[in-house]
């Protein structure tokens, strides 16, 4: 038991994860109505990306400004499956070619394109949703890291890739739905995802998936690989000349972050009911980095809070001051980087934790008879 606790981040981290789980799975569903909860679920899909960025950027030192691409792959895979289901011939009888998505019909496409065919099957969709981002990250990583491209250059290239992805999606309207994206998603294997009960269930599925990703992240960080990430960020040459292939380490962590993002994207399509290129491009990708920075780029759990709070602020502020939001977002990013480089997690460890720990110690000190040892035993 102790070995497992240690492997997944130790007692304290697991306790923080438990607190987050209680908040997400119990407190918020009991206090929020389904409209707000669904919105929260949408924010949580960005948390997957932020968690991936903690591993890749915070620990590995690889700043990717193109995580929207992976979010998009996950989202589009899921959206393509859902779209095919809601485009069954009986729903699309009025089209000139029934049985294909409506936007294809509008674009004079008369046959389902080959790349859409696998998305008739949910199993294949899920497999592709997980493997395609891993493969693309592998190819990008292989091409860049084996050639020792890193730092700012890597960030700019990923930014360019995000831009290319958007242009491709918008340009290939007949295959992707263009700028409108893939809309009007209705059912998953006949189960209507637009009802309140479905939204509740999808919210919980999203939370559980996120918690699993957090556990995987903590396992990675606790392993020798996690220490290597820190070592590589500090002294890349020393790692290389200690017999490691640095490029492989980078490729793996970049691919893992990509897969996490794709899961988030798929959960987004399911909960929000559409997917569009605006979640793929450069602006979306940079916003994702801000969620991670605000949460604290060295804290997996902090990244979740960061994604939630920034998005909450975005929703509230952009409703009241639509023009000011983007300025505020920029100011927030600069402020966090300058004043709180460790983000919310840093504020927690510096200002919240010491007084609480002191208070706990005093409590224990006052009641020495308390059966402390019994509590610890499993």
């Amino acid at each position: 038991m102790d070995r497992w606790i240690a492997a997944f981040g130790g007692r304290q981290r697991l306790f923080q994860l438990l607190a987050l789980s209680v908040l997400l799975l119990v407190i918020l569903p009991l206090t929020l109505d389904i409209f707000r909860l669904n919105l929260l679920g949408k924010y949580l899909t960005y948390a997957f990306v932020a968690v991936g960025l903690v591993l890749c950027w915070g620990y590995g030192g690889i700043l990717s400004l193109g995580q929207g691409v992976f979010f998009g792959i996950g989202g589009y895979c899921m959206a393509m499956f859902l779209k095919l289901e809601s485009s069954a011939p009986e729903f699309t009888a009025i089209q000139s070619t029934p049985g294909i998505p409506d936007f294809m019909d509008w674009n004079q496409i008369t046959e389902l394109p080959l790349m859409w065919v696998p998305f008739h099957s949910l199993t294949l969709t899920i497999i592709l949703m997980l493997t395609v981002p891993a493969l693309i990250a592998f190819f990008i990583g292989f091409a860049m890291f084996k050639r020792r491209v890193g730092g700012v250059y890597f960030a700019i290239i990923t930014q360019a890739i995000a831009s290319i992805a958007t242009i491709l999606i918008i340009g290939q309207q007949g295959y992707t739905g263009g700028i409108n994206g893939i809309t009007d998603l209705r059912t998953l294997l006949g189960w209507d995802i637009r009802t309140d009960s479905a939204r509740y269930i999808l919210y919980f599925v999203c939370c559980v998936a996120l918690i699993i990703c957090l556990l995987i992240g903590q396992f990675v960080l606790e392993s020798r690989f996690g220490k290597l990430l820190i070592a590589m960020r500090d002294q890349e040459d020393r790692v290389r000349f200690s017999g490691y292939d640095v490029a492989n380490i980078k490729i793996f962590v970049f691919a893992l972050a990509g897969v996490f993002s794709a899961i988030g994207g798929a959960m987004f399509a399911l909960q929000v009911g559409f997917m569009s290129p605006s979640f793929v491009g450069t602006v979306a990708s940079i916003e994702m980095v801000i969620f991670c920075a605000v949460g604290g780029r060295l804290s997996l759990i902090g990244a979740v809070y960061g994604a939630l709070l920034v998005n909450l602020a975005k929703t509230m502020l952009s409703e009241t001051f639509p023009q000011l939001w983007i300025v505020f977002m920029g100011a927030l990013f600069i402020g966090v980087v300058l004043l709180f480089p460790q983000g919310l997690a840093g504020i927690y460890t510096d200002f919240v934790k010491p007084p609480v720990a002191g208070w706990l110690n005093r409590m224990r000190g006052k009641s020495p008879d308390a059966p402390v040892s019994q509590e610890v035993q499993p």
């Binding site: 990675v220 392993s223 020798r224 690989f225 220490k227 290597l228 820190i230 070592a231 500090d234 002294q235 040459d237 020393r238 790692v239 290389r240 000349f241 200690s242 017999g243 490691y244 292939d245 492989n248 380490i249 793996f252």
Partner: protein
């Protein structure tokens, strides 16, 4: 033991845009030898180590280590072949503890999945303690490496190489910035660790060189200027002119 020669460098040249940092160099290092490389600034000493460990690629020539040509191997393969290299400025993982620094340098679990599922065995822990006591850091194992003194950082990096048990150890100015007592301790350390391996040291401190060297190689403008016992080299006219005389 087949041949007394561990490392044979022949006709090694590297040119950076026409400037030959190392120029037609021949160098032979025997097993269990401590070789010190000296020379004025820009003589190509650090470049030589860069070439051996694969950080810089040779323009021509060969570096035979046992039976393999290192110029054809990737950096991590050169390490696996048994070459360890310490950098001029201490390169340690400042955000990790001394123990973690040494554990990461232990030669196992070097692949991605190997490191993800690596289990720290008793043997690893034992090696870490052994090496830590050799480099005078046994009671600082749980200290963050960034908090060590400059000299201790140098020792830690040497320890990170020792735990890999390389047959050839290359040290770039290991005593730079050390106090007198630290220098003595380091000389002692070098004598102990050179018992069963060859060591190449770059150093400017002549007293330290005299203390440890079996043989000295003097480089000048990428070429071999002189080679031999320290006493002979010190009497060499050319060496005095370009280096020692100043």
């Amino acid at each position: 033991m087949s041949s007394p020669i561990l490392l044979a460098i022949e006709d090694l040249t590297v040119s950076f845009d026409g400037f030959k940092a190392v120029d037609g160099l021949n160098l032979y290092v025997e097993r269990n030898e401590v070789r010190v490389v000296i020379g004025p600034n820009g003589a190509g000493k650090t470049t030589l180590l860069d070439l051996i460990c694969g950080k810089t690629r040779a323009s021509s020539g060969s570096i035979m280590f046992k039976n393999t040509d290192l110029t054809k191997l990737a950096e991590n393969q050169i390490v696996k072949a048994g070459v360890g290299r310490k950098f001029q400025t201490p390169s340690i993982y400042e955000n990790l503890t001394v123990r973690e620094n040494l554990q990461l340098s232990y030669p196992a679990g070097r692949s991605v999945f190997g490191s993800l599922f690596f289990k720290t065995t008793e043997h690893v822990l034992q090696r870490v303690t052994e090496v830590a006591s050799e480099i005078f850091l046994e009671d600082r194992l749980d200290v963050s490496a960034g908090l060590l003194s400059h000299g201790q950082k140098q020792w830690l990096e040497i320890g990170m190489l020792l735990i890999q048990d390389p047959e050839l150890l290359m040290l770039d100015e290991p005593v730079a910035g050390m106090s007198v007592s630290e220098r003595e301790a380091t000389a002692d350390l070098l004598r102990r660790i050179s018992n069963n391996r060859s060591v190449i040291v770059i150093e400017h401190d002549m007293d330290f060189v005299k203390d440890i060297a079996n043989k000295v190689t003097v480089l000048h403008q990428g070429k071999l200027l002189a080679e031999g016992k320290m006493d002979d080299v010190q009497k060499n006219e050319k060496v005095i002119e370009v280096y020692l005389g100043h």
